[in-house]
Symmetry: C2
Subunit: 104 residues, 2 copies
């Protein structure tokens, strides 16, 4: 039965700037975020980062719990996207500027 996953992600009002910045302060996670930003939607498995899946999963967890990334199940993979609307509403310009700077 498709029980909708309990991927806990903070509500928009719960977003906390230091937590978001911490999530983005790791180079691996920054790379993940940049790839999602470029592609729009990326499954967890689509990152060719030389690293065990458990470690990658940890980084996705941090990104999710900080509210940077939203993940939804589709078949048997997780599709990740950036929560740009929520982030821009709460912290206008911050994530956009970071992505732009990181992409240079």
């Amino acid at each position: 039965m498709t029980k909708c996953s309990e991927i806990r992600q903070p509500l928009r009002e719960e977003l906390f700037l230091p937590r978001v910045l911490h999530a983005l302060s790791d180079p691996v996670r920054m790379e993940i975020v940049l790839k999602i930003a470029r592609a729009g939607q990326v499954a967890c498995g689509a990152f060719d980062i030389p690293m065990p899946k458990s470690t990658l999963s940890h980084h996705f967890k941090v990104l999710r719990e900080s509210g940077v990334v939203a993940s939804r199940r589709e078949g048997n993979e997780l599709i990740n996207s950036l929560r740009l609307e929520d982030l821009e509403t709460r912290f206008p310009g911050v994530v956009q500027a970071i992505i732009a700077a990181g992409s240079r």
Copy 2:
């Protein structure tokens, strides 16, 4: 005579975005940065943060080493300022947006 201090601070080209974000990901340091942003120049002693001086000093060190803050000696106190020019040059909009969001 004011001997030029040996406070090591990274050159503009050495600024590293994840390091900057990490520096800003601590609530205490964020508070420090916001106060400097408001006042322009603030001595280390001017922060009424209920915390030992050694701990505060640690946070200033992190801010300095990440390149967020510049400190110069003036008499027997250290005056702190934000390295906005360098930061904006390397990471346009990032720190500005963070300060604006943090000030809300």
